[in-house]
Point group: C2
Chain length 256, copies 2
DNA sequence: TTGCTCCTCACGTCACGTGAGGTGGC
DNA sequence: TTGCTCCTCACGTCACGTGAGGTGGC
């Protein structure tokens, strides 16, 4: 008696919150926002409590979370919101960094176009621009892990080595990484001979790079210690594959 | 005789270009990249010319174009590449600006969380933060169109008027804009009485805002002159709807 | 009775990833 | 003959937009 809360039909409620009716249907369907009640005719009846929840959903959506993530966040009260928001912030910052690289490439391409008017569009040069932008970003990011001396040495090294040889190494690395990713995906046991062959090749390549310098090895270790921190464009594999590789390499080392 | 060009099977070609086989299938299917030949067994045979085209596709993809746009760009030789790249640059810059707003909101929310430890997450406050960030961005953008005096006056005005009244106006604007968008979408004739009613309301609201000040009206005109330049978050309707509205308003004015 | 709102399917979007099921050359 | 690669469907993705076709209260 007197306990009748004001309810809203979908259209009303949608207008109130500034979303479409279809959105509310969808949120109901996926369980993200179930209306408080349903009328005898099957009509959705929303309350002000529902409005609060919807606003929370929209807030998190604005912050870039997916609907699945939003559901998890709102349904588990013990969830660490601070951590989630912080992670989200970092993710978006990386996204921005990627877009800024693209803008930079576009700018340099436009400069090039302004330079040679009337000439045909030089695709090869644009590819070089993109590679340059990406290399810059990578170098900038790596600079925080290497000491100045190491950076100087690596730079000198790369200048002394034949570009063709460098390209070949790069491709070998890519193939090796593809093999490792594939092995991890297929869940081959780390002590499988095929996987051990990959571990061997990996170890050899690392040794070739560090030339036995323990400081350089330590830098590499720092770089790969948190794969999720690494910008995705130059992250060879995710954290899980990384662990898998580590296991295989450990087995390989223990067997020698 | 001797005119046999080297060809590649899909997997080979895919590895060569660093894409997946499925991607090549898809590009073939959509007509974006058709292999030069097909073997008698129905196998796709790619040539180095195909590789060049694929690299162009990937370049444009990196620059943020959709596959449809890429197809149009590559298939129409007279296309104005410079204009396309410049537009793309601007689009990405706007995307970045939006993401930066989100980051700002996340940062301020995190600061708030750091302040009141252990307290319950204050959703209402986060909403205010988001609104604040958006208002800042809008003010910043509008500042380039209004004169300092106009800005000062508008600011003073908003301080003198009851916030509830402001909210009400905002909602009226939103409803009006929704009506206009709807009329344009349904292609009602601009001289339709219903559309004329919208034009009337629009004109009245504009007059209420400018208070007959021609300088203010001129600023508004500048602001709305290129709707596509306006950040999408506070663009009420696209260029086409804008034109439609203009037509309706012109008819309305001519009838008085 | 006429509109209006409500409902539930269900297809389309974008650029592929991921099997399923089957064929052909080494 | 056994593998390997190739092929063509065809479903799934993410968050809805957009009809289609039908029912119920004002």
């Amino acid at each position: 008696v007197g306990n009748v809360e004001k309810t809203f039909l979908v259209r009303e409620f949608a207008k109130l919150a500034g979303v479409s009716v279809r959105t509310l249907h969808y949120y109901d369907q996926t369980g993200l926002l179930r209306p408080a009640k349903t009328s005898s005719a099957g009509h959705r009846l929303y309350t002000t409590a529902d409005l609060l929840r919807l606003q929370q959903i929209l807030t998190l959506k604005y912050m870039g979370f997916s609907l699945t993530e939003i559901g998890e966040l709102l349904n588990s009260p013990g969830y660490d919101v601070l951590r989630a928001l912080d992670g989200q912030k970092r993710a978006i910052e990386q996204q921005i960094a990627g877009l800024q690289q693209t803008v930079k490439a576009l700018e340099r391409t436009l400069e090039m176009l302004a330079g040679d008017e009337g000439e045909k569009f030089n695709w090869e040069y644009v590819q070089l621009i993109i590679q340059g932008v990406q290399a810059e970003a990578k170098a900038y990011w790596l600079a925080q892990y290497y000491t100045p001396e190491q950076l100087a040495e690596l730079k000198e090294r790369s200048q002394q080595i034949d570009p063709r040889q460098q390209l070949k190494w790069q491709q070998e690395w890519q193939n090796l990484n593809a093999g490792i990713t594939d092995a991890a995906r297929r869940k081959l046991p780390p002590d499988d001979p095929a996987v051990q062959a990959l571990a061997k090749e990996y170890t050899e390549k690392i040794n070739l790079f560090t030339k036995g310098d323990p400081a350089l090895l330590e830098s590499l270790r720092r770089i790969y210690s948190q794969p999720d921190q690494m910008p995705s464009e130059f992250r060879p594999y995710d954290a899980e594959t990384q662990k898998y590789l580590q296991k295989a390499v450990d087995i390989f080392n223990s067997k020698r």
